[in-house]
């Protein structure tokens, strides 16, 4: 049976052996950004199983290994069940909610009153719910008046937002997953879909056997599972050279005449400048820079250019790499050149990395203003001030990204850091510096686990509910908002993040201009209804959605309003782009420095007036350079069985067994030159730290490159890939570069007959 989109149905489930499950609660998977429909099996008040939702437009019954195993974390004994406060003796001890919240409020008030808004910061997540992000953003921007708020989405898909803004004027992914079943060519750039987006990859493979039989091109330095299970062409480029390769493809599209000149003339700007820049990426230049043979490059350009329809997906191989925004923009430009946007089977699919990453960007929990309002546009700020009933003079503060927030903490400007649902003690680059920083600030950790590496450094721990234990919405990478119903109660005294935010706002005495409480709603639906009004008439328009409408559907894609009551499958079908100065989310930034045009500069000289921008940049090499001491490049990435820093997935037996320990993948030629055998314990050393791990020798990584999965990072151990990574970030998106460090490899110990996953001490 096929869904409307053309995807065949499947059936995936897992439940506790021998348990009869009387109740299945509809929800959405809480891992990755695909947004699969799930049902949570409840027996005796606990989650006892999970199954894919049949007929759901995203997955139609499918689930990946992480999705099927996510409920083990809910019932793990390490859940945070009561607030904790660091006592004078240095230990975290249980406290009442009153004590813990009063301490939090005292710290915030003291720092705000004596130092000002830079002295406090909020670093949140990509895994909360829309209503929670909206509330947190409103507290930060409308209540505390701080710009120092961001989410860990800065580490996963901040570049998505930046690239969409630069190319199209505003954030908002243009396409839909159903485009995958309607296309003749799929290009995956830095996207190991077979491990990171498993259900999406199932859909792609099913589509590959469908009537259009799409060609699949994979651009990735490694020979990944995606390559071996479905690629027709693998471009194994050198790490950090995405821009050179994508420019090379665009150059050939122009040279081959496989572009849509009418579309370019009518709907884009800066073609001449674009052509001049990409013309420098000749096949010779690409071969020299990226290591891609010219014949492969020409085949890729030929397949992309001659297919009637093309979908290109990007993920961390673009967003966490050198020149992230420039590379993501190059993908957008490639589609604009061919007019392949806004119609079935055609989309630059800039992905998100977490289940509600999109909501952080929409609501402003990532430091932007809600509903894609431009902080520099006084009309946007007046409109928001009116809807929030707060003084406009206190809005319009330039966003500060997470890397800069952590720098503010490091240098002592920020004294109180509220860390919510994320684990920077493992996930931040240049980790040793950040561990010292986290140790030195007053650290509030709001999390569902009391033992994350970050929680172990906390001064206060606030226990929170997790997936399945609260009600609210998540929006996936195709703009589809779905409602997640609470299935079970959180353990002990844990509270939903929304309840904690509402309590904080009340205790802080945050008010609007009339003296009424800043936050008047008391539950998720109230928050959602206010968000609908705040987003009304804006680009991510949710005004036409209600809980009732969402509950009866497999999600609704925004914009959803009076004109589009059932939502909108694709953006830019007209194709008119929101680049006019009155609506644009930003005023075009310098890809090399991140500096933005002023309103008057943009309005008078740059405004493309509804056309998309053909953005191009010349290739620039990564900043952390190889030399005699550090001759190899280390890249990091994820595995099919773990999620971020393993706080959830390490607790599932099947997942932990499948990926028990850190390792370093080494090419056999490099291994031979260094006398390293498979399983030998090695040390990878960069200019700022090291990782000790068993070597996995093979041909998955090319010579000159080593790969370390970034999930591992126990305190006191040298397991974290981020020990190696430099403190650098993309100038526009401010996304850290976590896939490029110059390193050397040293053999520590030969393990005779050892295998990489069995080496003692690596677990």
């Amino acid at each position: 049976m096929l869904t409307q989109a053309g995807m065949p149905s499947r059936s995936f489930s897992q439940q506790d052996a021998g348990v009869d499950i009387p109740q299945w609660v509809p929800s959405t998977c809480g891992l990755c950004s695909i947004g699969c429909g799930v049902e949570i099996g409840v027996a005796g008040g606990v989650i006892a199983g999970v199954r894919g939702r049949a007929g759901h437009p995203v997955n139609d019954g499918r689930l990946g290994p992480k999705g099927l195993n996510q409920y083990f974390a809910n019932r793990h004994p390490s859940r945070a069940t009561s607030p904790l406060i660091r006592a004078t003796a240095g230990k975290l001890v249980p406290a009442s909610w009153d004590e813990a919240m009063q301490l939090v409020v005292d710290q915030f008030n003291d720092a705000l009153a004596t130092e000002g808004p830079d002295a406090v910061a909020i670093y949140n997540s990509g895994q909360l719910l829309l209503e929670e992000y909206y509330t947190l953003g409103k507290i930060a921007r409308g209540g505390l008046g701080i710009a120092t708020i961001d989410a860990n989405t800065r580490l996963c898909t901040a570049t998505t937002a930046s690239a969409l803004m630069e190319s199209f004027g505003a954030d908002g992914p243009p396409g839909a997953y159903e485009d995958l079943e309607k296309t003749e060519c799929i290009v995956l750039v830095g996207h190991n879909a077979a491990e990171q987006s498993t259900v999406l990859w199932m859909r792609i493979l099913a589509a590959k056997q469908g009537p259009l039989h799409p060609k699949i091109i994979v651009i990735d330095p490694r020979r990944t599972l995606t390559v071996t299970t479905g690629a027709d062409l693998h471009l194994a480029l050198r790490p950090g050279t995405n821009v050179a390769l994508l420019n090379g493809i665009c150059n050939l599209l122009i040279e081959n005449g496989t572009i849509d000149e009418q579309f370019i003339a009518r709907h884009t700007s800066k073609f001449n400048q674009f052509r001049e820049i990409v013309s420098r990426s000749t096949p010779d230049h690409v071969e020299a820079t990226c290591g891609i043979p010219q014949a492969q490059l020409r085949t890729a350009a030929d397949w992309i250019g001659r297919s009637k329809t093309t979908v290109t997906t990007c993920l961390q191989g673009v967003y966490q790499s050198n020149q992230a925004t420039a590379a993501a923009c190059a993908v957008n430009s490639m589609h604009l050149l061919m007019g392949k946007i806004g119609r079935p089977g055609c989309a630059p699919m800039q992905f998100a990395g977490q289940p509600s990453s999109m909501n952080t960007r929409e609501t402003g929990a990532d430091g932007t203003y809600p509903a894609y309002r431009n902080w520099e546009d006084q009309n946007h700020m007046r409109d928001l001030a009116k809807r929030w009933n707060v003084p406009v003079e206190l809005l319009g503060k330039k966003p500060i990204g997470a890397p800069e927030i952590f720098e503010l903490c490091e240098h002592g400007y920020t004294k109180v850091l509220w860390n919510i649902g994320t684990n920077p003690a493992v996930s931040m680059m240049n980790r040793s510096t950040h561990l010292r920083t986290l140790n030195g600030v007053f650290l509030i950790v709001q999390d569902c686990f009391a033992d994350t590496e970050t929680a172990q450094l906390a001064d206060v721990v606030l226990p929170s509910a997790m997936w399945g234990e609260k009600t609210g919405c998540m929006t996936n990478a195709e703009r589809r908002c779905t409602l997640l119903r609470k299935a079970v109660d959180p353990p002990g005294e844990a509270r939903s993040d929304l309840e904690i935010f509402l309590d904080f706002s009340r205790r802080m005495n945050l008010r609007d201009r009339s003296g009424a409480p800043l936050i008047r709603y008391t539950d998720p639906e109230g928050a959602f209804n206010e968000w609908r009004e705040v987003s009304r008439g804006c680009i991510p328009d949710y005004s036409g959605m209600t809980y009732e409408k969402l509950a009866g559907s497999g999600g609704i894609q925004w914009p959803c309003n009076d004109a589009h009551p059932d939502g909108t499958v694709r953006l830019y079908t007209d194709p008119h782009f929101p680049t006019e100065w009155q609506i644009s989310e930003s005023y075009e930034k310098d890809l090399e420095t991140g500096h933005e045009h002023t309103l008057n500069e943009y309005r008078k000289k740059r405004d493309p007036r509804g056309r998309a921008v053909l953005v191009a940049a010349d290739y620039q090499p990564p900043l952390d350079t190889t030399d005699d001491r550090f001759p190899l490049i280390a890249i990091s990435g994820r595995q099919a069985y773990h999620w971020h820093t393993r706080t959830k997935t390490a607790k599932a037996p099947q997942l932990q067994e499948a990926a028990p320990a850190v390792f370093v993948a080494v090419n056999e030629a490099d291994a031979e030159a260094l006398g390293i055998l498979d399983g030998d314990r090695v040390r990878i050393v960069s200019r700022r730290g090291s990782v000790v791990a068993p070597a996995k020798v093979g041909d998955v990584v090319p010579a000159g490159v080593v790969f370390v999965p970034f999930h591992y990072g126990d305190l006191g151990q040298e397991h974290a890939a981020n020990n190696l990574m430099p403190q650098t970030w993309d100038p526009v998106s401010k996304q850290p570069v976590q896939k490029s460090a110059a390193v050397r490899l040293e053999r520590i110990e030969a393990i005779a007959g050892g295998q990489w996953w069995q080496v003692e001490g690596t677990r």
Binding site: Q14, L205, E393, L394, Q456, D714
Partner: protein, 313 residues
């Protein structure tokens, strides 16, 4: 009146006029920004607005802490100041600067008076806000002195005008908002880039702010990359705050304001436990997966058999 009500009333009496003036000042800056065509001045005005917003947030917090409700409307003063700013920004930049300077001088007096009467938290709050106001006032004075060329304006500054401006024009560096002399030379970018300007002194100072692992490699970066990275760093929040505390404070006659880095406040945390694995006794459940035929089926089989996936790691 209870003692808490009395405390609120007393605090409000001090804070409210300050807040009203700051909000009026922000409204005036917004009015000026709408007409300002010089990108360096836009950035300077945004910096000033940021400082005023910070002052309001501090004052608001003081009132909120007492249980009071701040009045953040700005009142008639806001309307008057906005109108004045809109008019003066059409007349000339120097007229705008003078109007702002007058307003700032009044604020400095008010903050000084408030500081004399305050203690504890309020004292620290007023001292910080006064510092921002003084920095802003001196910045405006320096720009006026440079633009007008009048000795009287320059005389008010605590240092020679040459320490504020090295060149012939009153340009505003996008880090320190002045145009100070230095060794490495100023950096400037124009069309097709957004206009960007960093003065020579800031260029020197920013080079010293790079972490050593990157600083040691800067000579290897192509010159365009190196320049771009310096500019990126210079317009970052930390670097701008460094410029305010280490440069603008002394140039406003104040001692430098340098915070204590987090690492110096760090304490050793005792227990470090590794990420726990599955709970004791926890077993994987019964997995039921419909395996279809073809490519998708092959992949699903691989995916749920870890050893097959390991071949691709």
């Amino acid at each position: 009146m209870t003692s808490q009500q009395a405390a609120i009333a007393s605090l409000r009496e001090t804070v409210q006029p300050l807040m009203t003036r700051e909000i009026a000042g922000i409204a005036a800056i917004d009015a000026a920004l709408a007409h300002e065509s010089a990108a360096d001045y836009v950035v300077m005005f945004q910096g000033a607005k940021n400082g005023k917003q910070a002052n309001v947030e501090q004052l608001t917090t003081l009132l909120r802490m007492q249980g009071g409700i701040p009045d953040e409307r700005g009142g008639i003063r806001k309307v008057l100041t906005m109108t004045q700013a809109a008019v003066s920004s059409r007349v000339s930049t120097i007229a705008t600067l003078r109007a702002m300077q007058l307003a700032e001088a009044a604020l400095v007096k008010l903050y000084s008076a408030a500081l004399d009467e305050a203690s504890d938290l309020a004292e620290r709050a007023f001292r910080k806000a006064l510092g921002r106001a003084m920095v802003h006032a001196h910045l405006l004075t320096a720009h006026i002195a440079k633009r007008s060329g009048t000795e009287a304006d320059a005389k008010v500054l605590p240092a020679p005008l040459l320490d504020y401006f090295a060149g012939a024009d009153a340009r505003a560096c996008m880090r320190c908002h002045l145009d100070r002399p230095g060794r490495a030379g100023a950096l400037e970018r124009r069309n097709p880039h957004p206009y960007t300007y960093i003065c020579a002194a800031c260029h020197d100072e920013v080079l010293g702010e790079f972490p050593t692992d990157l600083a040691s490699q800067m000579d290897r970066w192509p010159s365009a990359v190196r320049e771009a990275k310096v500019l990126q760093h210079a317009i970052g929040r930390v670097s701008k705050l460094n410029a305010i505390g280490r440069v603008l404070y002394p140039l406003a006659g104040l001692p430098p304001e340098v915070p204590v880095p987090a690492a110096e406040r760090a304490v050793i945390v005792p227990a470090m436990t590794p990420t726990p694995g599955p709970a004791q006794g926890e077993r994987a459940g019964t997995i039921d997966i419909e395996i279809p035929n073809g490519l998708e089926a092959d992949y699903i089989r691989n995916l749920f058999s870890a050893r097959e996936v390991w071949r691709n790691w």
